[in-house]
């Protein structure tokens, strides 16, 4: 229990440290900074998690890994819903995203949501990139604490 709290509090502090900078330039780039942090963490984390796994057979298999094992490691639960259009777009829906549940359960503080989702987006992008998939990850919140992560795979 205590270790989860530690991670949450640290995450919140990193967010407020980066987002509440007095410098105007820093403010504009704060979201991308958080995303870059998440990318680096995701990249190394996925390497650790898959050290005993063989190679995944396709993209969908990789996504399932992200939804189950990866999310379990990060937030002690699985993604609630995974959808795809079979053309490289995947939507991961978490109905009770851990970092948002304590902030609000409704529309209050909606404008703050992107701050707390930037690093998770980076985490997913980093993990996928570690598994050889280049992607763009965006997040979307309609009412807290539910949120959707959209993953768009970039074909090279």
């Amino acid at each position: 229990m205590a270790d989860e709290v530690l991670f949450e509090l640290l995450h919140y502090e990193i967010v407020s440290h980066i987002c509440n900078s007095s410098n105007e330039e820093d403010k504009a780039s704060s979201i991308s900074k958080l995303e870059a942090l998440g990318y680096r963490i995701g990249l190394s984390l996925v390497e650790r998690l898959t050290k005993d796994n063989p190679r995944f057979k396709d993209d969908l298999d990789t996504m399932k890994f992200i939804c189950k094992d990866f999310w379990m490691t990060l937030y002690k639960k699985q993604i609630d819903n995974l959808r795809t259009n079979h053309q490289g777009v995947y939507v991961l829906q978490d109905n009770r995203f851990k970092l948002l549940t304590l902030i609000s359960q409704g529309k209050q503080y909606m404008d703050m949501a992107p701050r707390y989702l930037a690093m998770p987006c980076g985490l997913i992008r980093g993990a996928l990139s570690g598994l050889g998939i280049v992607s763009v990850v965006t997040a979307e919140v309609s009412a807290m604490p539910a949120c959707k992560f959209q993953i768009q795979i970039q074909r090279l």
Partner: protein
């Protein structure tokens, strides 16, 4: 015929008495069922007016972090800020008063006081947070309940919420609804039962 009359008379009175007894038994059984429904609630609580009036949360420096009221019928007639100052001042005075006048070593310090109309419960955390809950005089010990409010509602929804700045008024709607639900679920909040 005279004997017959007497017998019917006796029969009537006896049946009448039995009827009364029967009604009494029925009433008793109904009461038993009523009490059983409120298994955990002592009889006094069912038949007396129970209610929770209001709650203040002060931080270490005397800022009122949160105030809310449920069944308060009598307003103080001064602005809320003035009232918070008055309340905090009084609590501070009572605390020092208790510690000075205590003939033995104090353990928990000031816990509650009671007037003819209401009872004030006080709980202070290790970090200096003060919870003040006013109930009517029949509410028993509320210490565990306030402890619950602190550990399950305040810590979870205010301390862990990065949007709630420490040392400022609590604006989180989540905290407000959680607290309201908790207080309304308490047996001490039973205004309708009286």
């Amino acid at each position: 015929t005279k004997e017959n009359n007497i017998i019917t008379y006796y029969c009537k009175t006896i049946s009448h008495r039995f009827q009364k007894l029967f009604i009494n038994i029925q009433f008793f059984l109904k009461m038993c069922i009523l009490v059983r429904e409120f298994k955990t609630v002592p009889l006094v609580w069912v038949f007396s007016k129970m209610t929770i009036f209001n709650l203040y949360i002060f931080d270490r420096n005397g800022t009122c972090l949160y105030y809310t009221e449920w069944n308060r019928r009598n307003q103080s007639g001064i602005s809320k800020e003035e009232e918070f100052k008055l309340m905090y001042g009084m609590i501070l005075s009572i605390k020092s008063f208790c510690s000075r006048l205590s003939p033995t070593d104090l353990k928990d310090g000031f816990l509650s006081y009671r007037t003819s109309k209401y009872k004030l419960h006080f709980y202070e955390t290790a970090s200096g947070l003060k919870f003040i809950l006013n109930t009517d005089i029949n509410a028993g010990n509320m210490r565990d309940n306030i402890q619950q409010i602190y550990s399950n509602i305040y810590v979870e929804n205010v301390i862990k919420n990065p949007e709630c700045k420490l040392g400022q008024q609590i604006t989180s709607e989540l905290f407000q609804t959680k607290l309201d639900d908790y207080i309304r679920s308490l047996p001490q909040f039973a205004t309708k039962l009286s």
